[in-house]
Symmetry: C3
Subunit: 260 residues, 3 copies
């Protein structure tokens, strides 16, 4: 039986995630269900897409990845299942899959249409429970994607904001603040290493913010440092503290990387 | 082996839930333990009862549902196991089971008395670990409820606040605010559909609040709308926003539903 | 297969814990992974050590306990695996294991050195995913600790703050505030019972705070009471309320226990 991963904006305080798991176990007794995260800010498709991209490839081959950030639930937006070389992805067709799928070889895309595999009656507010959970359960037991509905030409794509690169600098932006207050940017490791062995520095609003280093404790306690984080992107941190709080960084803030 | 579901007010920040799971696995290796929710506000038996009622029936048949919202822990309050046609429920006898059980056919009610099935010594503050977890583990392995203690005549019941219905309106109240800021009311779908096909509107403090619609995006972004939510109750929402914040709704607030 | 427990400061909002579980399942399909807690305050090694000490012994024998509170990640700090009579512990060597290990009979201590068991390339910020998760997966499948690296002479130890005891009083301090607002102190049950059957009272800043009782509801609603909590330590509570809020208690606050 395949592992099922869940990425949602349902949070941990309500009973929505628990209900989904009840539905899955009802159809796929003994299924391994792993929460990738339920902490995506409500309705924030971009952050959901980033979390899934950061995490999906660490799961066992053939994992069924379910991603639900779904402000359009109940409306006419479609829902898709996408099969790649290594995984199966299920989600509302609103772009939440698109950054993970950039790295995958697409084998098929189908609409979720066949009500035979849904939990009826379908509510207008909780397709996680009524559509995605039962479909994921069936996929974990080996159901072929084509049984779920007709073939789709494509899936919805979110534009990825690429940093602007010139000779002098890399201009990027903050795309996520984690619980430690680290500010993850859209500047990835290859971009950075293309700068060669020069000592690099981060600037924000024209002022120097910190150096680029190797790990948090390479600066004294309370001092800022930028490192390549575990998702492969440059992140701005404060050793033993919160860069978000101490430096006032927010999602969307511009930063630039220049030689020292 | 039967699935075990957990509904508590223990939250996610401490190690209480983790300890309970350790105890369960110690007695029932490989058990499927699903968190329905641990986000019930501390000591709030009514919200615990509502969450359990909303969620329990989506779990596999024979699931052992454990519900612990237990301000009287350590006092003389009893604890019960209730067997119904489809499930087994375990909880302090303070009403937390009563709304889920309204819909079930009761087969037996027993007190939890037999210390043989408890973790000794029993603490005075954490029966979740010392009584409910080991009992749930044993039940998941098939222990008969009557082994746990003497038969009880009844279980504690919480009064459910019924909406007041007259020709002109349905007067209900807000009973839960979810993480999206949706305000779930005690007005259920049958009550609403009994109003016939009229267009309905929600009023709060005499002023019109929003229309009743089918799904969140049936109004523009930032606008309020009331829909039948996934638990079968009318909920007041703001498309792409938080009704709790934007409309200032709180648990206990009166609302009414009238023809437009 | 052995159970794996996780104790971290990664929180629930990001995808760090989910990634670790993906890595574990990738290597040890079907593993039982239990979250003891992920709510340790960021970088707070002492609280991590306390949570692990409070919880580890409720897990099945041979459980692999993974504890990651790791402000020195990426630096030269070592990482260890410690085998005891009943359990295996894996952690950065910064003291987070030391209070749990005080109660265990140590059988072996080894460094985590053998890259064959790591996820390569190893990031400089997330050894939870790249070192501890794959190592835990292998240990759950029975890998011998000595395969992981060379023997270590000892593990890092955190000093435990013992209460000061004299004829008149026990002077302790608050070491943890739980989600209910209960203030757990470092005064343990044996210390208290050594005072004999006298009625005891808690003082804070020279003023009487509350009596020592048996359970929360032994005082009226809203009144403070100190009880022996589920971890075996004296905790100051407010029946139906939050001692932290109502009495303004904080971690580090001094309290004393005196005869009435």
């Amino acid at each position: 039986m395949r592992t099922i991963s869940l990425t949602t904006d349902f949070g941990w305080d309500d009973w929505f995630v628990g209900m989904m798991k009840g539905v899955i176990l009802n159809l796929a007794s003994g299924a391994d269900i792993i929460d990738l995260t339920h902490g995506i800010p409500a309705g924030d498709i971009r952050t959901g897409a980033f979390a899934l991209m950061a995490g999906y490839r660490f799961f066992p081959r053939h994992t069924v990845h379910v991603a639900i950030v779904d402000p359009g639930v109940g409306s006419a937006r479609g829902a898709v299942v996408v099969e790649t070389g290594d995984y199966t992805f299920v989600a509302p067709d609103n772009g939440v899959l698109s950054w993970a799928l950039r790295r995958e070889k697409i084998k098929s895309i189908h609409w979720l249409e066949n009500k035979k595999y849904f939990l009826l009656p379908i509510s207008r507010t909780f397709h996680g429970r009524d559509i995605f959970a039962p479909v994921a359960a069936q996929l974990s037991k080996g159901l072929a994607c084509r049984k779920l509905g007709s073939e789709a030409v494509d899936y919805a794509r979110l534009p990825w904001t690429n940093p602007k690169v010139n000779r002098e600098e890399i201009k990027g932006e903050v795309i996520y603040l984690d619980r430690f207050g680290n500010a993850i940017t859209n500047v990835d490791a290859p971009l950075l290493s293309a700068r060669g062995p020069a000592e690099l520095r981060i600037f924000s609003a024209g002022k120097p913010l910190c150096a680029v280093g190797d790990f948090y404790q390479s600066v004294p306690d309370g001092k800022p440092i930028a490192v390549i984080g575990s998702s492969g992107y440059l992140e701005i941190a404060v050793n033993g503290g919160s860069a978000a709080k101490q430096l006032g960084l927010r999602v969307g803030d511009s930063i630039s990387v220049r030689a020292r």
